[in-house]
Subunit: 206 residues, 2 copies
């Protein structure tokens, strides 16, 4: 039985004011359905707002742009990456550390795999989203650069940490491209292969 002093207002937070009628995650999910089914350019923001059951104006309170909807919650993933790198023992060589972080960061529960694939297909396939992603990647690179800088006793914005961060990004994105192109490919295997090039350099090839 529910206690008599708790009329169960479902989303009671103790704070005044109207409750949000939806969530960023829900909007993103609905939008990705539409984008995948009908195409990104062919889907207007009004379509997304209608499908999400909110007004156009409200949609732009949840997300600053149509492009951003496809990404969903990126800051959360960014914090996860930071935490991942922070947890790596200082004794581990930097190349191993980066490989481990790349693998962990891109590991998704099997239940979410199909959805993840659909999202990434959009992000890496639609030109407007490819472009917008650059801005997300910039923050991700900064996280990696901070880690490398600390390890190497350099500043965040020094040349070497920034170069390594760029290379890590490239490693991850090249792996994703392969993964999306081949339904049978294993993302982790691809990342491990890319990390080898990252660690040993192009000189080790010829």
């Amino acid at each position: 039985m529910t206690p008599p002093d708790a009329p169960a207002p479902l989303t009671q937070t103790g704070q005044p004011g109207r409750r949000p009628v939806t969530s960023r995650a829900q909007i993103s999910a609905v939008a990705i359905d539409l984008f995948t089914a009908n195409g990104f350019e062919e889907t207007s923001v009004d379509d997304v707002a209608d499908a999400a059951g909110i007004a156009r104006r409200t949609l732009f309170r949840y997300y600053p742009s149509k492009n951003a909807i496809a990404w969903g919650d990126f800051d959360g993933h960014l914090d996860a990456m930071r935490a991942l790198l922070a947890d790596i023992p200082p004794t581990e060589p930097i190349a191993d550390a980066l490989r481990r972080a790349l693998i962990s960061f891109n590991r998704v529960p099997p239940a979410e795999l199909a959805g993840h694939r659909r999202r990434m297909t959009l992000l890496l396939g639609v030109p407007a989203l490819q472009a917008h992603s650059m801005l997300m990647y910039a923050e991700w690179r900064q996280v990696v650069a901070e880690f490398c800088a600390q390890r190497l006793g350099l500043s965040d914005d020094d040349h070497l940490p920034q170069t390594i961060a760029w290379m890590c990004l490239g490693t991850a994105l090249a792996a994703y491209d392969q993964w999306l192109a081949d339904p049978d490919a294993d993302l982790e295997t691809l990342i491990i292969a890319g990390s080898r090039t990252l660690a040993e350099g192009v000189g080790a090839l010829s």
Copy 2:
């Protein structure tokens, strides 16, 4: 004396139809002046069109988007990169070849250095242009990937060539960021330093 049979119509091409009143390069130059002076977001397409002495509608015949104006002629540079890589003897190790190509590709005549710097400051500094640049970089990466694929006996879209192409891009962009941040820095020196990381890998650091 001009020959009597040549009334010197200045831009006579033998083809009928009205002559273009301006050029892509000229529009780009005028636009970069405005963008640099007043800011990219603060400058409307109408402002650029007015300054270039053409109608808004005409401007969009020269460039498909406001973003593209800042890049100017990129396809030309792309062809140059292709030619650069094609000219490298097959005996040269792939890491050396990439380093040489990166250096040559980014070498600019001293007379154009200041202009180049202004353009790159916009391209790497303005978020909208950072994002748009991703689409240009994709073509550039493809050129590099084709070269690597041929050298390694692989396909253009195989994992390894694509990974290397991403890393080359990162090397170049990290160098540019440093160059723009420090007015006294030498771009070539930065690229050489980055190429070392590219060739020897991250494993050579720790």
